[in-house]
């Protein structure tokens, strides 16, 4: 629009300098000509003949041309430029090129220069936007990798310990059974010889204790049965971790599928066991009638892991200050067409002065290297931007913090 209007106003397509010289010419020469004409030809001003009018008209025209330049065109061009440049400086790019009046002269060069600047700026802004997008994606990916890495090392830790004692036990059992079978073999031999030679039970028991079996056998019996039951427990522990690991299968996928949120909560708790096991007990407060929620399961898992690990760190802070074991309560409930997930900890709460900052990128209270300050930012973006949900928290100093995630059960079509 402004382009067209400015074109209309730039009536004579003459450069500013030409206009100026023309105007000076008209203004200075014409009155002399008029005066000369009046003095020499029309002394009485009586004959307002056509040349007089023509000359007068010319000088008025000159004044008008000059006036147009000085009064209208230059101030309006400058105002226009000023406005545009001010916008650029403020960071608002003008929608289109700047179009000034009477562009064939110096001012035209300025117009061209300004437009080149605008074009270049726009290119750079596009580039920066693109880079920002790539960086955000990479950051998101890096965070996901970090979450996976943390989980992988956690899983390794969790599996390594039971593997240690299960294989210790298996080694023992294998040795013990060899002893037992050796004992049985010699028992059999003794029985055979007894059948032939000695008829008394007393001889038999004497022979048995000679084999040194009795006590050993009782001890072995107890040890083997303990070793087996402990090993089975250990295998159960490994199995539960491996089951939760199936969660990894969907970590990479970006499709929304109907998901049992309770299961994701349980998996996230299992996966982060090494973070909380020494500092907190876990309580579940899950709604068994929770509807399936349409979501990207891997993303929700990532968010929950993040919050649980934060909760564990908060509780650890209190625990290390001598506050004893804390609690982390994972809950879920249905709210109309939404599902709410709550993670409550009995940590120290979020200090008042940082409450507004916790969702800001790169904000972290953890020491350098422990946290990047990206976890909650990305979590929130996953919940709000990807799922159209909400993420809030309630916190009380000295009592703890509750994070509340609300997810719509059905995703609307537009939020893809």
């Amino acid at each position: 629009m402004p382009e067209r209007r400015n074109k209309l106003f730039s009536l004579p397509r003459l450069g500013a300098r030409h206009q100026f010289f023309l105007a000076i010419l008209l203004i200075s020469v014409m009155p002399i000509l008029v005066l000369a004409y009046v003095v020499l030809v029309d002394r009485h001003f009586l004959i307002l003949n056509s040349p007089t009018i023509w000359l007068m008209a010319c000088s008025i025209g000159g004044l008008m041309v000059l006036g147009y330049g000085i009064i209208f065109k230059y101030p309006s061009n400058i105002a226009h430029l000023h406005k545009n440049l001010e916008e650029i400086v403020k960071g608002q790019m003008p929608d289109s090129h700047v179009v000034l009046m009477g562009i064939e002269d110096d001012i035209g060069a300025i117009e061209k220069a300004v437009n080149v600047i605008i074009d270049q700026l726009r290119e750079r802004i596009d580039l920066v936007e693109k880079q920002k997008e790539i960086l955000e994606r990479e950051l998101c990916q890096a965070n996901k990798l970090k979450a996976i890495g943390a989980m992988a090392s956690g899983i390794a830790h969790e599996i390594n310990t039971p593997v240690q004692f299960v294989s210790d036990n298996a080694r023992y059992i294998s040795r013990a059974t060899q002893n037992v079978f050796g004992f049985i073999r010699s028992l059999k031999r003794t029985l055979e010889t007894c059948e032939e030679s000695c008829r008394h039970v007393g001889d038999l028991t004497a022979n048995l204790s000679e084999l040194g079996g009795n006590e050993d056998m009782a001890a072995i019996e107890k040890e083997v049965s303990d070793a087996l039951s402990e090993s089975l427990e250990g295998l159960d522990r490994i199995a539960s971790i491996v089951r939760a690991m199936r969660g990894f299968a969907y970590m990479g996928k970006q499709e929304k599928v109907t998901t049992d949120i309770n299961k994701i909560i349980e998996n996230a708790v299992t996966m982060s066991r090494h973070e909380w096991k020494h500092v907190a007990e876990i309580e579940y407060n899950l709604d068994p009638a929770l509807p399936g929620v349409e979501c990207i399961p891997g993303d929700i898992m990532q968010v929950l892991l993040n919050i649980i690990v934060n909760a564990a760190h908060a509780v650890r802070g209190v625990c290390e200050d001598g506050g004893g074991m804390g609690r982390i309560i994972a809950g879920s409930r249905t709210e109309k067409d939404q599902v709410a997930v709550t993670i409550t900890d009995t940590g120290g709460g979020i200090p008042e002065k940082v409450r507004d900052q916790i969702f800001e990128p790169f904000f972290t209270t953890k020491k350098y290297g422990d946290g990047t300050g990206q976890g909650l930012v990305i979590s929130r973006s996953i919940i709000i931007n990807k799922h159209g949900g909400s993420m809030t928290f309630e916190t009380e100093k000295g009592k703890g913090t509750t994070f509340i995630i609300r997810l719509p059960v059905r995703q609307e079509e537009k939020s893809a």
Binding site: H157, N160, T161, Q164, F165, V166, S167, D168, D226, E230
Partner: protein
Amino acid sequence: MNSSGSHKAAIMFIDDEKQVLSGLRRSLDEKRGQWNMKFVESGNEALNLLECEHYDIVVTDLKMPVMDGMKLLEIVKEKHPSVIRFLLSAHVRRPFIFDTLAVAHHVLLKPCRSGVLESIISRWLDIRNHVPAGGRMLSAVFGLNSIPVMPTTRECLMRIKNLKTIDLPSVADLFEDDTAFALECFRMAGGTVQESGRVFRGIDEAVSCLGHEGMERLVDPERIKVMSSDMIKILDMEKIRERHALVGSGIIARISVGVDDPLLHKEIKTAALLYDVGRIILFLADPVEYERILLDSNGGSRSLCELEKNSFGMTHADAGGHILAMCGLSSEITEAVRLHHTVLSAGEKESGIRAALYQINAEINGGADD
């Protein structure tokens, strides 16, 4: 202190998970005849027991509530420096494993392979049995968790620190130059070995065992301790360094003319590089006493070894042999170092590394024993 000749070794295992302890108890069941084993569930309990009973080795988990394994070993090291300290953990990440060596002698990762724990415990017990009981030497040998290096080495490391990648050739030069630094490299590699029976024959094996992360920790000048100027003067480290230059240039080449086996050649070189480390150990055990002995041996009629034996119960050759065994060097090298002052018997003349080292020592010292 258990001073009787045939005593059972006492070993304590600490882990907050009962099941791990009973698993260990069962898998080490066969060793009951030789080892007295105690299984406790917390660091505090372990410390209380250590106050009233003697233990040769403690094996602890890392991540435990209240007191973690590092803290426990730190206290054990301070209060009972002669106790051998092991870490057995599922929670050690790769770079951190090297930091644990500040307090632990050996780090094993859970789950460790069958028999590894047993064989490594046995190896350490064996070393311990060779060190004379009675305090000073046990504490000196096992209280050692890093070897002080020459100040020039540290200066070089400061320079290396500014480089983006570790400059391996210049680190290799440092090994040649500073016997203490070479020993430190073996110590770090030996303390993190996860297989039984893995021994080092040359420094290249230790370097490859450490890997990039281990090397980064090794050359970290912040971590490294430096010898005092007294120590350098008294031990005449400069002279040792000159000898190394000699060793590097001529003697080995001459001696190994007849040696075809490249492995043997490597072992001779390693032994020649390290055979004097025992002096450092004896000095650290008692600087004043050792200085006196060195002076006596220079002026007096009695040999250095004799004086050392009288005062410390072992010679610097013995001490060197033990410390090298602790660092995981091959038994051929440790034996050769241990016996480098012992005259070869008739049958031993051509038995490779030991003969070579004896010859090297004799040549360097101009035939006379220093």
